[in-house]
């Protein structure tokens, strides 16, 4: 049985559904992420699970029991707020000790657990500091320690890394993964950053306008987005309107707007319309006159390229006028030295890319 189950959860604000018929189950020990653009209802879901907001429809079940009549302080879960919500009048140690005090844990044991927890988040030397004396990353770790110290069944994290700079954010991501594995507490993590979701989660629910568009592992979501929204939201991707024209040699021929015909995999039948999606890293750039056995090959002109350290992304304008993005690792031995304006060709394998319904 799932630890937490949402059944047809719905919340409306003035007629508009902020959360619209969401159903999902989260297993014990899981690192589960709600991912979606701003305003898609992530915080609203967390607030209902924590008990600060009431659903207009549906149910929230913990261990199979409805949470409907249980006030926030009685729910065996804690929240890490985006704003950290540290108590300004309490020291770091007292902030972290707050949930233990509320649970009437004996003072000696509470002190020991607070000290252990501060060790875990590398803040043992800040025990007597006050929140206003801490940096953003330190506050964030105090909030995390405070959420974990009471050993809740479930920890809800609402964009806890949102306010951190890039470097600290990466460091905290690694720490979060390690922490979650060590303490074995189930995490529901909210973010609108897709790299973060992919890096941290066991499973991801991609949300849009209050609904779940796709639920799956990071590899499933990235490799097999279910529709245009998910494909577009997760990572960079080239999208072309397409129609399946005929079945040949086990794969399908597509008529792709602006490209002509291509070969690509799909389970759908001829006549179907949709989107052809291909990741930049699946698109090869080759010399204009180079031979290739790749079945999809289109000549074009290199318009722009963006060197971002580990990789370079290329914008190629095909002769038909369509633009396509390709990405090559800079460490690749055969990376062509190209200048803007160069004549090139793009090519990709017959089993690369996806056909998506709208």
């Amino acid at each position: 049985m799932a630890l937490l189950e949402l059944r047809h959860l719905t919340r409306r604000f003035g007629g508009i559904a902020a959360v619209d018929d969401v159903s999902l189950g989260i297993e014990a020990g899981e690192f589960f992420t709600l991912l979606g653009p701003s305003g898609c209802g992530k915080t609203t879901i967390l607030r209902m699970v924590a008990g600060f907001d009431l659903p207009d429809g549906g149910a929230i079940l913990l261990d199979g029991h409805s949470l409907a009549d249980i006030p926030p302080e009685k729910r065996p879960l804690h929240t890490v707020f985006q704003s950290y919500a540290l108590f300004p009048h309490l020291s770091v140690a007292d902030n972290v000790g707050f949930p233990l005090r509320m649970a009437r844990v004996p003072a000696a044991e509470a002190r020991r657990r607070v000290a252990d927890m501060l060790d875990t988040v590398h803040l043992a030397d800040k025990a007597d500091a006050y929140p206003h004396e801490l940096s953003g990353g330190q506050k964030q770790r105090v909030a995390l320690a405070r959420g974990l110290v009471g050993k809740p069944r479930l920890l809800l994290l609402d964009e806890p890394l949102g306010a951190l700079d890039h470097k600290l954010r990466s460091a905290m991501q690694s720490e979060l993964i390690a922490l979650q594995r060590n303490v074995g507490i189930t995490f529901i993590f909210v973010t609108h950053s897709q790299p973060e979701a992919l890096a941290l989660s066991h499973r991801i629910a991609v949300m849009n306008a209050g609904r779940i568009e796709q639920l799956g592992t990071p590899a499933e979501i990235y490799g097999h987005p279910r529709n245009r929204f998910v494909a577009d939201f997760i990572g960079d991707i080239n999208l072309f309107d397409a129609e399946i024209v005929e079945r040949a040699q086990g794969t399908l021929q597509f008529a792709v707007a602006g490209l002509g015909h291509i070969v690509a995999p799909t389970v759908d039948s001829p006549g179907r319309r949709g989107v052809f999606a291909i990741r930049p890293e699946q698109v090869h750039i080759i010399a204009a006159d180079a031979p290739t056995e790749l079945p999809n090959r289109f000549p074009g002109t290199l318009r722009e390229f963006l060197y971002v350290g580990d990789v370079t992304t290329y914008q190629v304008e095909l002769d038909s006028g369509v633009r396509i993005q390709a990405l090559l690792p800079n460490a690749a031995p055969a990376r062509p030295q190209l200048a803007a304006g160069a004549r090139v060709a793009v090519a990709w394998a017959g089993d690369a890319g996806l056909f998506l319904h709208d």
Partner: protein
Amino acid sequence: MREARTGLWAAALLVYLFLYLPLAVVVVYSFNDSRLNAEWVGFTWRWYRVLLADEGMLHAAVNSILIALGASLVATVLGTMAGLAIHRYHLRVLPILVITPVAMPEILLGVSLLLFFIQVLHLTLGLVSVLIAHITFCVGFVAIVVRARLAGMDESIFEAARDLGATPWQVFRRVTLPLILPAVIAGALMSFTLSIDDFVITFFTAGVGVSTLPLQIYSMIKIAVTPEVNAVSTLLMLLTLAMILLAARFDRTVLRGRG
């Protein structure tokens, strides 16, 4: 530009002189060894000694202090609750209802309270009616100061406390109260000073039997401004000043909120 600024300074100086010169005169003459407030004769503590022997004055002082203590205590509790309620529930009427008595002309408040006590409550005017009247105008002050303190606060800390296992009462006891305490103390001190030097409202609601310091001073100057009046005024001034400074130490909004 520079001239404009010099002009401003001069104007400010005049205003302050205008404000504080009369107060300074009162203080100075309270130490003057003469019955008349006419010329400086010499330094004396005499008028303070006279004051201590004046039973009517002592009685009024005790009344004033009792009323100020009672009014500030009750107004602080009610005002704190009002401030919290205004902050929590976004009802337009609530702040208006609480703060109006603060802005209302005192004479209006005095007259309406008088009518209310006599015609509606059939109350005999005395200490109790003065106490109720003082509570009425102090509540708003406390509410304003407490609310200002809450306004700058991150709402999510109260939810965080609930989330971490605190009942609503524990949230108040362990988080809300410690955070608003400076404002609550400042509000209490402000109420005390407002109550102890209130004249107009007290005048209407005191009836004949009781007197407070301001009423006593007024009845004395009807005859003449004696050095004794100067002495008691000086003491009252000192007390008020000390309270305001103390209140401002606890909460900076006090200095902005008054008047």
